[in-house]
């Protein structure tokens, strides 16, 4: 019975997220067709998501790039393969680490704040107030956050890649003893455009997940401050779980696509 309940809860959750996603797409198309898409609201969200997340994303990217070079650099140096360090680090960052780590950081920083903001709006009747003013809450609240997360996660992942490479290059030059030219050449020779694009595609999907899950958790908040707290935590946990689970399928799918069409 417990297993059945779990399955039922998961199906309900998955269905609700899918419906909210489709509603976001519908209201986006509706907004574009009627010329009433809330561009200002979208810009505000993008700016907030980008500015709020950038410091954490920068630290994460720099640290990850630096640590990767430390871990890989000495091993490769022993094998005489220093010239591959830049390439391996950049591929690891571009394909996996940058989108995943940026996704997790943004889920913690922005997913929680979206759930808290909308949860507070729900329990203080602000969402009801929107409806009484003939305004659809998905159109007004979800669409800008959904696209804000989706677009900005791609942008932030690009920053994570660049900052990770900067962190890696500093360690490679100062600790491993590589020249900057060797490190950069290695990146240019080994990193392919499809590695970058695959990672950015993942980032886009993770951003959409963070936006939809944050909004869903906010909209389903019940009770007072305790309910908002639960939604906030729930949004982060759920977003990270989904990011990790979906990452596997995306990786397989992107690899298959690259093998079939780009090899």
């Amino acid at each position: 019975m417990i297993l059945l309940d779990l399955i039922r809860d998961f199906v309900l959750l998955f269905g609700s997220l899918a419906i909210l996603f489709l509603q976001s797409i519908y209201w986006t198309i509706h907004g574009l067709r009627t010329g009433r898409l809330g561009w200002k609201n979208l810009m505000d969200q993008m700016s907030r998501i980008g500015v709020d997340s950038f410091p954490m994303v920068a630290i994460t990217g720099f640290s990850t790039g630096a640590v990767l070079v430390v871990q890989i650099g000495y091993q490769f140096a022993q094998l005489g393969a220093q010239r591959y360090v830049g390439g391996v680090v950049s591929m690891a960052m571009a394909r996996e680490l940058a989108p995943i780590l940026t996704g997790i950081v943004v889920a913690g920083r922005i997913g929680s704040s979206i759930a808290a903001e909308l949860g507070t709006m729900k329990i203080t009747e602000q969402i009801d107030a929107l409806e009484t003013m003939a305004t659809n809450p998905v159109d007004e609240l979800v669409v800008p956050r959904f696209w804000g997360c989706t677009i900005m996660l791609v942008v932030l992942t690009i920053f994570t890649n660049v900052i990770g490479m900067i962190g890696g290059s500093i360690v490679a030059v100062n600790q491993i003893g590589l020249t900057m030219t060797t490190f950069v050449d290695s990146i240019l020779q080994n990193l392919k455009i499809q590695d970058l694009m695959g990672g950015l595609f993942k980032a886009m999907v993770f951003g959409a997940l963070i936006g939809v899950i944050g909004c869903y958790k906010g909209f389903t908040t019940e009770g007072g401050a305790e309910g908002v707290g639960k939604s906030t935590t729930g949004a982060v946990v759920l977003a990270i779980m989904f990011i990790l689970a979906v990452n596997y399928f995306l990786t397989v799918g992107i690899n298959n696509f690259n093998t079939a069409y780009l090899s």
Binding site: T124, E125, Q126, D128, A129, T132, M133, A134, T135, N136
Partner: protein, 248 residues
């Protein structure tokens, strides 16, 4: 005219509305009285279509709004305004942006015209010059007045007030009541007011209804209610803890 017929609503095991029947005539002010937690706000939310009943109908101008799709419901809501119990101001917007929200969404008025309307409504609720304040800078009473300014910004035909004077001082309560009466006189607005404030109810209500136990147990003019022999009515208007009406 608004006709509520056999309206029932249940939340889990709790039966909040048990067959509400009510008629509200055009241009009338109906005040719904009742103890806290008896479902008065739930009734208002059915009238504006925020909640769907388990059974029953809400007929506005002869059409059952419980069957309306989103588009028709939105069209109806353009003719209605609602003041929420907590004012429900949008925290991230200024007072002016809150009041202008509906005007910006649903009209093609210029920024200047909208600014004039906002300033006029703010003056009506006794808050001139509060345009650029944030909701967090307002007291409870001020929030409620801004909520009222927002509710009347689109000059609706029907206004629903959920405890409009709770938390206001007696002078402001009287000012809000006078505003209510002037809106009724000037625009012929139909009002449904949920309140605990008997003085205010007597001032503004053409008719008063007592909601208790999920039903309307009494309805009539101020004098009919005051002189009602019903012990429930007498207990409520005298504010007695002991009597047939139990605390929820």
């Amino acid at each position: 005219m608004i006709i509520i017929s056999n309206l029932c609503k249940r939340f889990g095991p709790k039966e909040v509305l048990r067959g509400i029947n009510l008629k509200i005539y055009d241009g009338e002010s109906l005040v719904i009285l009742g103890p806290s937690g008896c479902g008065k706000s739930v009734l208002l939310k059915h009238i504006i279509g925020l909640l769907k009943p388990d059974e029953g109908q809400v007929l506005i101008d002869g059409e059952d709004i419980t069957k309306f799709d989103q588009k028709r419901l939105d069209a109806l809501r353009m003719r209605m305004g609602m003041l929420f119990q907590s004012a429900a101001l949008f925290d991230s917007l200024t007072v002016e942006e809150n009041i202008a929200f509906g005007l910006r969404k649903h009209t093609n008025l210029s920024d200047l015209a909208i600014h004039h309307i906002v300033s006029e409504k703010l003056e009506m609720v006794g808050l001139p010059g509060a345009n650029h304040l944030m909701p967090s800078e307002l007291s409870g009473g001020m929030r409620k007045r801004v909520g009222l300014a927002r509710a009347i910004a689109m000059e609706p035909e029907i206004i629903l007030y959920d405890e409009p004077t709770t938390g206001l001082d007696p002078i402001m309560t009287c000012a809000i009541d006078e505003l209510h009466l002037s809106l009724k006189e000037r625009l012929g607005v139909t009002s449904i007011v949920v309140t605990h404030d008997l003085n205010s109810a007597y001032r503004i209500g053409d008719r008063l209804a007592l909601h208790y136990g999920g039903r309307i147990v009494a309805i009539g003019t101020k004098d009919e209610i005051i002189n009602s022999p019903d012990p429930l009515v007498q207990q409520f208007i005298r504010g007695e803890a002991k009597g047939p009406m139990t605390l929820l």
